[in-house]
């Protein structure tokens, strides 16, 4: 219980990071260095903006909003990368279930760059895994994020298997980042569908439109934005990607965007 979480901020009204109304906890720090990251303040500037929370303090801060969650809402862990602080998250998730005596809906918004042991432990607690999938191509993935995607893809299989064996209703939502002329070509989409087609616990695919929202923050913090030259997708672009995925996929995914 002495352990402290490195938290960038807490947003009390989140409606786009998981179902219903959510309290969104932004964890500080991230092992990936996505060039277009829209929260560079949570990934690059670890100490300056960090608040340190004990598990109890964080729980109390978050529970002040619990009356707004209704039947669908709950807590979303995001960042930064929450899985970069695995022990804190595991203890916190455990504490939530024990202390509230309720099944608070917990969503993990992650890139899944983590160890299988952590995923196994957390699979007990996390109701919804929102896994953002940056790119199927390992080289482009590395160029974009600083790391390859083989471990991420392996983890995806691993997590899927665990969820299947536990069969406790927990599931995965894949978030596909749509960047025109970067991730929306037919080849990339085909490969993406191939990657996820054997996974049994994916119910939903969320298309995340690339956003230049982080650009100003990048310039402020790092002096420059490393992902120039790309535009934000239109609604029609997203429709097109959804259609391509559905054509290839064996399963009738629910689309969110």
């Amino acid at each position: 219980m002495k352990r402290k979480g490195y938290i960038h901020s807490i947003e009390s009204l989140g409606t786009v990071d998981g179902p219903g109304i959510r309290t969104v906890i932004f964890f500080q720090g991230c092992p990936l260095k996505c060039q277009y990251c829209h929260n560079p303040d949570a990934t690059l500037n670890p100490i300056k903006d960090t608040k340190f929370y004990t598990i109890k303090d964080l729980y109390e801060a978050v529970m002040k909003n619990s009356e707004y969650w209704g039947e669908d809402g709950g807590i979303t862990f995001t960042g930064g990368e929450p899985l970069a602080q695995p022990d804190f998250i595991i203890e916190f998730a455990k504490y939530c279930k024990e202390e509230s005596k309720k099944n608070i809906h917990l969503t993990m918004d992650t890139c899944l760059f983590s160890s299988t042991a952590i995923l196994e432990k957390l699979s007990e607690y996390i109701d919804l895994w929102m896994i953002s999938f940056k790119h199927y191509d390992p080289i482009l993935h590395k160029k974009l994020t600083g790391v390859g995607n083989d471990q991420i893809i392996k983890n995806l299989d691993f997590l899927d298997n665990i969820l299947s064996s536990k069969n406790n209703g927990h599931y995965i939502r894949i978030r596909y980042v749509v960047i025109p002329n970067f991730s929306d070509s037919q080849t990339y989409i085909d490969e993406f569908v191939k990657t996820i087609s054997n996974l049994k616990n994916i119910e939903e695919i969320e298309l995340l439109p690339y956003s230049r929202m982080g650009r100003e923050k990048w310039i402020k913090i790092a002096g420059k934005y490393g992902f120039e030259g790309y535009i934000e997708p239109t609604r029609e672009d997203l429709d097109k990607v959804a259609k391509s995925i559905l054509e290839k996929a064996k399963k009738n995914y629910k689309f969110i965007y």
Binding site: S9, I10, E11, S12, L13, G14, T15, V16, G20, I21, T23, K64, N65, S66, E67, Y68, W69, G70, D72, G73, M213, I256, Y257
Partner: protein
């Protein structure tokens, strides 16, 4: 034709008891909105005709004005919009949107208002009210003492109803439909006969006053019958069908707004009552749904075109020409069963049929027990129109039972049984500056920025005035122009805390409480005078005729500046605040070193300061004797006066610059709530309704994308927000705006593109185009919750 013998319930037959009639005969509706019918061609034609007149009304300030005929229940002959096609009839004067003068409140107010629109009240009428017939305004100023005058002229207490009608009284207009006017008259006559106390020699003044008032009420009821007769109706007997029920009720309301132009002339609670007539006629096959909706639409149209004569300074306080025809919808009865009827749906549906509008002021009473489909329909209409406010039914019921309404924005009162003495508000931010500056008032400057050539020439003017010490700190961008020199001693014998290097929290708090108490006593004195005189010279004869003979009265105090006071005190406590003194040794600015917790982030360190200020101020107000033994209550509501109050208030220790607006009502200051909308709601919800029983106003603006990805999600999320704020946290009131900031900016530039854009401000809705540029800027600057 209705046979009242077939209705259920007994109590309402023997004495006036609307709550019993409604509860005995109500048909609860649990379904969704699919039964609703669209507007008819007839309605469209009438509304479109009015829209043209409304455009002129808005452009000229007023469409037309009758300066010859002081308004009364029977002053004007019948007027029509389109006589052949109107279903519900009755206008305030002989023409739609033509306003009338009501000089009993104050002849100067009426003159000033008329002249500002290019009209002149004829001399012989002015002479009557100056020489022969004293007005409310004259009475008040004859009795005001020097201290009250000083507090008033220094804007420490402002907006008092001392030169215009007080309003905030709701007649039980339903009584006319259910009982007919003759029965109401008989009841009053019986009361005079059967009350020996009224002839006793014990309470001389009180019994004489009651006899006079009740007799005046009887006369008003007689006049009401006469007014209806001009339109060809005999309302002496109860209404015989749906159309008559609406018509009788509307006549009663119309009589009230012809007699009075009080700040808020609210309608009360009519949804379930009218629904009983509608259900009856639908069952009998007398009307079909389409016709019922048409009656409702026509009724709402009448409410949309009610107008009062105001002058521009008044409009600065209460922007957008509001009449506050507040009507509450839905709610839950004492036993926990909901009171949602199809008519609650029909009334909200007028926002679809005729587009969003600022009036009537649609107020949904929220409770855990409401049917889910109703909650979702309200959310949908809110998202599409930004025209609805919500208030906590579970919180108010213990105070007012289950047949209450809302006057103005947030003031609860049992219909026909309670009334209030409206008291505008004290500026508690200014009071804090008095406490810091040892009882002297602070200098107030306005920063004039020069962004274009025209403004730059103003700046040159300001430079010229520099010699007269009215402008200072001028540079190329802006000039600070002194509005109020300050430095006058308002409260004697206080310590000059501003002379310390840093402000000390305990000393400031101690002296602030002293100042508040000093103000409270004078505020109470002013209120007693105002309402004594209003009863004497501008008594609401018809509205009070539609109350019980004996009413409960509230003395409704109010204050502005909650978030500024909380943040300023928090800055003094948790950061270091250094006063910057002017040549007179009075603080004109503050330097803040370090960070401090700000109201609106669900942080108890500062939120508790806000709670304590409210708790202490009402305690102080409760100490003083009130006119007619009214019960002191307190509201945290600014209407749109937060802009004007800000203009009259110097720099504050929270870093707010002199002359800039306050946040409205109990809202946190713009952009200081950084933890998202729910944390902001949580902070406001901590203010106890027991301490601020006249209402705690909160305005919530969110961009559609932040509320959810599609309408379905947005509806669910808004319902959860409302459930969380009211049921979970016990919050009192919430205005809901679902709008993009860009929409407002575009509307400011191109008003013609947004003919019906409506937005909720503190406790009511306004037509955006009707706000001044300054007020529009303030609305646009307000925190929009837009984080992803």
């Amino acid at each position: 034709m209705i046979n009242y013998n077939l209705f259920k319930g007994e109590k309402w037959r023997n004495s006036i008891d609307l709550a019993d009639f409604i509860k005995s005969n109500l048909t609860r509706y649990n379904g969704d909105e699919s039964f609703l019918k669209p507007t008819t061609e007839r309605t469209k034609a009438i509304w479109n005709k009015l829209l043209k007149l409304i455009e002129i009304d808005q452009k000229k300030g007023i469409y037309d004005l009758d300066v010859e005929t002081p308004s009364s229940i029977i002053s004007h002959k019948a007027g029509y919009i389109d006589k052949k096609n109107e279903i519900i009839v009755g206008l305030q004067t002989d023409e739609p949107l033509k306003r009338a003068i009501k000089p009993n409140g104050g002849i100067r107010f009426a003159q000033k208002a008329s002249e500002s629109y290019g009209y002149k009240i004829p001399d012989h009428i002015v002479e009557i009210f100056e020489k022969y017939r004293k007005t409310h305004n004259q009475g008040v100023f004859d009795a005001y003492d020097d201290e009250i005058r000083l507090l008033r002229s220094k804007h420490i207490i402002a907006g008092l109803p001392d030169s215009y009608g007080r309003g905030r009284i709701i007649g039980d207009y339903r009584r006319v439909a259910l009982y007919g006017v003759d029965f109401l008259i008989e009841e009053r006559q019986k009361f005079l006969k059967e009350n020996p106390a009224l002839t006793s020699v014990e309470n001389v003044e009180e019994s004489i006053r009651i006899r006079e008032e009740v007799t005046d009420q009887i006369k008003a009821l007689e006049q009401l019958k006469e007014m209806a007769k001009m339109y060809g109706y005999d309302i002496s007997k109860p209404a015989k069908d749906s159309k008559e029920a609406v018509q009788w009720l509307y006549f009663a309301y119309l009589g009230a707004i012809k007699e009075q132009d009080g700040a808020a002339m609210s309608l009360g609670r009519v949804d379930a009552f009218l629904d009983i007539y509608f259900e009856h006629d639908l069952k009998k096959g007398i009307y079909k749904e389409e016709q019922i909706q048409e009656i409702v639409d026509d009724f709402i149209i009448k409410l949309r075109i009610a107008r009062h004569l105001r002058h521009p300074e008044y409009n600065a306080l209460f922007a957008g020409d509001p009449t506050w025809i507040t009507m509450v919808l839905g709610g839950v009865d004492i036993s926990g069963e909901h009171m949602v009827t199809k008519t609650a749906y029909r009334i909200l549906h007028t926002l679809t049929n005729m587009g969003p509008w600022s009036e009537p002021n649609l107020t949904v009473l929220w409770s855990d027990q409401l049917p889910e489909s109703w909650k979702k329909y309200c959310a949908k209409q809110s998202i599409l129109s930004s025209s609805i406010q919500y208030e906590n039914d579970d919180l108010m019921k213990p105070f007012y039972g289950d047949d209450y309404g809302i006057a103005c924005c947030v003031s609860g009162m049992t219909i026909g049984k309670d009334m209030q003495f409206f008291g505008a508000r004290a500026n508690l931010a200014k009071a804090l500056l008095l406490a810091i500056n040892g009882g002297k008032d602070e200098p107030v400057y306005i920063k004039t920025t020069f962004s274009d050539d025209e403004a730059r020439s103003d700046g040159m003017e300001a430079e010229k005035k520099l010699n007269k010490e009215t402008a200072f700190d001028c540079d190329k961008e802006y000039c600070k122009v002194i509005q109020e020199k300050g430095g006058d001693i308002i409260i004697p014998n206080l310590e000059e805390l501003q002379k310390n290097e840093y402000l000390d929290f305990d000393s400031v708090w101690r002296q602030y409480m002293q100042v508040l108490d000093w103000i409270a006593e004078r505020y109470a004195r002013a209120m007693n005078i105002i309402h004594y005189m209003h009863d004497k010279y501008h008594y609401e004869t018809l509205e009070m005729a539609l109350h019980d003979e004996k009413v409960r009265r509230f003395m409704a105090y109010g204050f502005a500046g909650l978030s500024i006071v909380a943040d300023s005190l928090s800055a003094i406590k948790y950061a270091k605040v250094k006063p910057v003194l002017n040549y007179d040794g009075v603080a004109e600015d503050y330097i803040i070193k370090g960070d401090y917790p700000k109201f609106g982030n669900d942080d108890d360190r500062v939120d508790n300061i806000a709670v304590k200020v409210v708790e202490n101020f009402i305690k102080m107000l409760r100490k003083y004797k009130t006119y007619r033994n009214s019960i002191p209550t307190l509201s945290i509501l600014t209407i749109t006066s937060n802009v004007v109050y800000g203009k009259a208030t110097g720099s504050t220790p929270d870093g707010r610059e002199s002359g800039t607006p306050f946040a409205p009502g109990a809202n946190p200051m713009h952009k200081r709530d950084s933890h998202g909308a729910i944390s902001s709601l949580n902070s406001v919800s901590k203010i106890s309704y027991d301490d601020a029983q006249d209402g705690i106003s909160n305005t919530f603006s969110i961009i559609p994308a932040s509320l959810g990805k599609n309408l379905e999600e947005q509806k669910n999320n808004l319902v959860n927000i409302l459930d969380g704020y009211f049921v979970g946290k016990g919050g009192h009131h919430l205005n809901v705006n679902v709008l993009n900031r860009e929409t407002l900016i575009d509307a400011q530039k191109h008003p013609e593109k947004y003919p019906q854009l409506t937005i909720r401000v503190s406790g009511y809705a306004v037509w955006f185009n009707n706000l001044s540029k300054e007020q529009q800027d303030e609305v646009i600057a307000r925190t929009f919750h837009d984080r992803f």
